[in-house]
C-alpha cells in the first residue's frame, strides 16, 4: 500500500516537473493568441531563451543573470514577431515558423562556435542553476504518514520556476478576466475594430500581449536549460513549444483548462517514460511512441469537434489595418 502511494507521489512530482514548462509557454501563447496573434513561434522563443540562459549562466555563474538573458532573448523574438505581424501586417504563421527555424539553426551554430562541445553549453553547477527548494516544514513532516509523503515529495522539493508556473495560472486568470488590460486584450482578439473605435490602440495592446508572451515563453525556455537540466543541448525544446500550443488549444484558450491540458500531457509523458514496455493489465504492452502521440491526437480530435469544441479568438490570424 505505502509503496503504491510512493509511486503515485513520484509520478505526481514528475508530472509537475514536466508540466511546468508547458504551463509557462502555453500561458505565454494565451496572451498572444487572445490578442489575435497566432503564436506558432513559442518553440523558437523557448529555444532562444534556453540557449541564452544557459550560455549566460555558464559564463557568469549566476542563474538569475542567465534567466535575465533568456527573458531578453525571448522578448526580443516576440518583438520581432510583432514588427512583422503587427507593424507590417505579415503572415503570422510564416513569421512564427521563420523564427522557429532560425532559432533552431542559430542556437546550434552559436553554441558550437562559442563552447566547442557540439552545440552543448558547459555543465552548470552551484549558483548557475536553480536548485530544488525544500519548503519549510518538509523535513519535520516526514514522519507523518500520507501527508508527510505528499508534502515532502509532491509539493516541496521543486525549483523556483515550477512554483512560478503554479503561481502563473491564477495570476494570468486574474490578469485576463479581472483587469482593464485583460478586457482590452480579449476585445482586441475578438473585434479589433470596436477597440479601435473606443480610442484604444490595437497595435499597442497586441505589442504588450506579445511582450508578456515573450516573458512567459522565456521562463519556460530557461526552465529547460538552467533549472530542469544543467546545460543547453541542441534542439532541447524538442517540440515542447508545439505541445504547449496544443495544450492552449485543448484548454480552449482559457488559463485553468490549459493548466489541465498541460498536466494531462505531462502525465502521459511521465507514464510513458515509466512504463517502457511494462505490460498493462488487459491491454498488453502499449508502444511508448503511441502514448507520445496521444496529446497530438487528442488535440486534433478536439479541433475537429469530436471531444468538445475549440473556438479560437475571432480575429486570430488577421492583421488589423486601420481604415483611413
Amino acid at each position: 500500500m505505502s509503496e503504491s502511494l510512493l509511486i503515485a507521489a513520484l509520478l505526481a512530482a514528475a508530472t509537475a516537473r514536466g508540466a511546468a514548462p508547458l504551463v509557462l509557454a502555453a500561458l505565454g501563447g494565451l496572451f498572444a493568441e487572445r490578442s489575435g496573434i497566432v503564436d506558432i513561434g513559442i518553440e523558437g522563443k523557448m529555444l532562444a531563451s534556453a540557449f541564452a540562459a544557459a550560455a549566460t549562466a555558464a559564463v557568469t555563474g549566476s542563474a538569475w543573470v542567465g534567466l535575465g538573458a533568456g527573458l531578453a532573448a525571448s522578448v526580443a523574438l516576440a518583438l520581432a514577431h510583432g514588427f512583422a505581424c503587427i507593424t507590417h501586417h505579415g503572415n503570422q504563421v510564416v513569421s512564427g515558423m521563420a523564427l522557429n527555424i532560425t532559432m533552431s539553426g542559430l542556437t546550434a551554430v552559436l553554441g558550437n562556435a562559442w563552447f566547442q562541445q557540439g552545440g552543448q553549453t558547459p555543465l552548470l553547477g552551484g549558483g548557475g542553476r536553480f536548485a530544488p527548494i525544500q519548503l519549510p516544514g518538509a523535513a519535520s513532516l516526514t514522519g507523518v504518514p500520507g501527508l508527510g509523503l505528499i508534502y515532502g515529495e509532491v509539493v516541496s522539493g521543486h525549483n523556483v520556476l515550477v512554483y512560478a508556473a503554479a503561481a502563473a495560472v491564477p495570476v494570468v486568470a486574474w490578469l485576463v478576466y479581472r483587469t482593464r488590460f485583460g478586457l482590452r486584450l480579449r476585445a482586441v482578439g475578438e473585434n479589433p475594430g470596436a477597440v479601435d473605435t473606443a480610442g484604444i490602440s490595437v497595435a499597442g495592446t497586441r505589442y504588450r500581449a506579445l511582450v508578456v508572451s515573450g516573458v512567459l515563453c522565456g521562463l519556460a525556455g530557461a526552465y529547460l536549460s538552467i533549472a530542469h537540466n544543467a546545460s543547453f543541448i541542441r534542439d532541447m525544446s524538442a517540440g515542447k513549444g508545439y505541445l504547449a500550443l496544443a495544450a492552449l488549444i485543448f484548454g480552449q484558450w482559457r488559463p485553468v483548462p490549459t493548466l489541465g491540458a498541460c498536466l494531462l500531457f505531462a502525465f502521459a509523458d511521465t507514464v510513458q517514460a515509466r512504463l517502457q514496455g511494462t505490460p498493462l493489465p488487459g491491454v498488453g504492452v502499449v508502444p511508448v511512441q503511441l502514448i507520445q502521440a496521444l496529446p497530438y491526437v487528442l488535440t486534433v480530435a478536439l479541433l475537429a469537434g469530436f471531444v468538445g469544441r475549440a473556438v479560437a479568438p475571432r480575429a486570430i490570424g488577421a492583421p488589423y489595418a486601420k481604415e483611413r
Binding site: 488549444i249 511512441q289 503511441l290
Partner: protein, 371 residues
C-alpha cells in the same frame, strides 16, 4: 482599386526578379552578422559556399539531388498557398509516403524496374495524399485550422514511424532502426546510368530519375493551377472565399483536392530519398525538407519556375554548407538552417515591409504623377 493600379504601373521585372534578389541579399546580410559573431569572414564563407555548391560536376550533382526534394516540397506548399491554405505538414506527408514506398520496394523485390517505378510514384502520391487528406477533410468539413492539424500530424507521423521502425520494420539482429536494404531491381535508376546508356557521360552523384520527375511535377502543377477549372477555383478561393462562393465554387471540395495534391507532391520526396539514394527506410529521412519547402515556395513566389530556381538555390546552400563546414568548422551545417529561416522571415513575414518602398522606387512616371 488604387493598389492594383499602382502595382500595374511598376516595371514588370521588379516583383519576380528584383524583390527576390533583394530578399536574398538581406537574408545573406543578416547571416553575415551571425558569421561575424562566430568569428569568421563572411565573404570567404560565401565564396567557399558557392564553390562547394557549384564548383565542379560532382558538387552540382549533389546540389541538384538536394534541390529535387525541395522542388517537391516547394510545389506542395505552393499549391496549398494558392488556396490560402498553409500546409506545414509536408515533412510528415513525405515521411509517411516513405513508408509506402519502402513497403512496396520490400515486397516487390525481383519485379522489373519499369514496373516498380510507376507503382512507386502512385504509392508515394497515395500515401502522401492520404496523410494530408485527414487535415484537409477536417479543415473543409469541421473547420479545424489546417496549420495546427498539419503540425500535429507531423508529430503523429514521427511517432508512428518511430514505432514501426523500432518495433516492426527493423532488420532483425540490427541495432539501428532501419529496414533491410531493398532489392537492387527496385532502386530508382541513377541519372548517370541512364545518361550513360544513352551515350552521354555525366559525373556520378546521387542524382536519380526523380529529378526529371520533379521537373514534370512542376509542369503539371503549372497546368493544374493556371489551365484547369480546379486550379482556377483554387486560386479564386485563395483570393476571396466570399467571392468564390458567390461564383458557385464549393470550397470544401476544392480544399480537399488541393491539400491532397499538396500531400501527394510532398510524398514524392520519398522517391528521391528512399528509393533513389538510401535504398532503405531510415529514421527521419525527410530531414527537414518539408520545412525547406516553405522557404522555397515563398522565395519562388509560388510559381513552378520560381520554385525550381529557389530549390536549386537551397540545394546549393545544403551542399555548399556541408563543404563549408569542412573548411570552417565553426560554421556547422546549422548555418544553412539559419539562412533558411531568415529567408522565410524576409520573403514571407516581411514581404509587405519591403515591397512597398521598392515598388515606389520603380513606379513609372505617369502613374507617379497620378498618385
Amino acid at each position: 482599386m488604387n493598389e492594383s493600379r499602382e502595382s500595374r504601373s511598376v516595371a514588370a521585372w521588379v516583383a519576380p526578379a528584383l524583390l527576390p534578389a533583394i530578399n536574398l541579399a538581406l537574408a545573406l546580410a543578416l547571416s553575415a552578422v551571425v558569421i561575424v559573431l562566430v568569428g569568421e569572414n563572411p565573404l570567404r564563407a560565401l565564396r567557399l559556399l558557392a564553390t562547394g555548391a557549384f564548383g565542379n560536376a560532382e558538387a552540382i550533382g549533389y546540389t541538384l539531388y538536394y534541390a529535387t526534394s525541395f522542388v517537391f516540397t516547394g510545389l506542395a506548399v505552393a499549391v496549398a498557398f494558392h488556396g490560402g491554405l498553409f500546409n506545414i505538414g509536408a515533412e510528415g506527408q513525405a515521411y509517411i509516403a516513405g513508408l509506402g514506398v519502402a513497403l512496396l520496394c520490400l515486397g516487390a523485390g525481383g519485379w522489373p524496374t519499369v514496373l516498380v517505378v510507376p507503382a512507386a510514384v502512385l504509392v508515394a502520391g497515395a500515401f502522401g495524399a492520404g496523410w494530408a487528406f485527414v487535415p484537409a477533410w477536417l479543415q473543409a468539413k469541421r473547420g479545424s485550422h489546417v496549420v495546427i492539424t498539419t503540425i500535429m500530424f507531423n508529430f503523429i507521423a514521427s511517432a508512428v514511424m518511430t514505432h514501426l521502425l523500432v518495433n516492426v520494420l527493423i532488420k532483425p539482429g540490427q541495432q539501428s532502426p532501419e529496414t533491410r536494404e531493398f532489392d537492387p531491381s527496385t532502386w530508382l535508376p541513377q541519372l548517370a546510368e541512364v545518361a550513360g546508356a544513352l551515350g552521354v557521360e555525366i559525373g556520378r552523384s546521387p542524382l536519380n530519375l526523380s529529378s526529371l520527375l520533379a521537373l514534370g511535377a512542376g509542369a503539371l502543377v503549372w497546368l493544374y493551377l493556371w489551365h484547369t477549372r480546379w486550379g482556377y477555383e483554387l486560386r479564386a478561393l485563395g483570393h476571396s472565399e466570399a467571392a468564390a462562393v458567390y461564383g458557385g465554387i464549393v470550397p470544401a471540395r476544392i480544399v480537399i483536392v488541393a491539400l491532397s495534391i499538396s500531400g501527394a507532391l510532398a510524398g514524392m520526396v520519398s522517391l528521391n530519398e528512399v528509393m533513389g539514394v538510401q535504398h532503405r527506410l531510415l529514421m527521419n529521412f525527410p530531414g527537414g525538407a518539408g520545412y525547406v519547402g516553405i522557404a522555397v515556395a515563398l522565395m519562388g513566389r509560388n510559381h513552378p519556375i520560381g520554385i525550381v530556381l529557389a530549390a536549386i538555390l537551397f540545394g546549393g546552400l545544403y551542399q555548399g554548407g556541408a563543404e563549408l563546414s569542412f573548411d570552417m568548422p565553426k560554421l556547422t551545417r546549422d548555418m544553412v538552417v539559419v539562412i533558411q529561416g531568415l529567408i522565410i522571415l524576409v520573403c514571407g513575414a516581411l514581404e509587405h515591409a519591403l515591397r512597398g518602398p521598392v515598388e515606389a522606387l520603380f513606379r513609372r512616371s505617369p502613374a507617379a504623377s497620378q498618385a
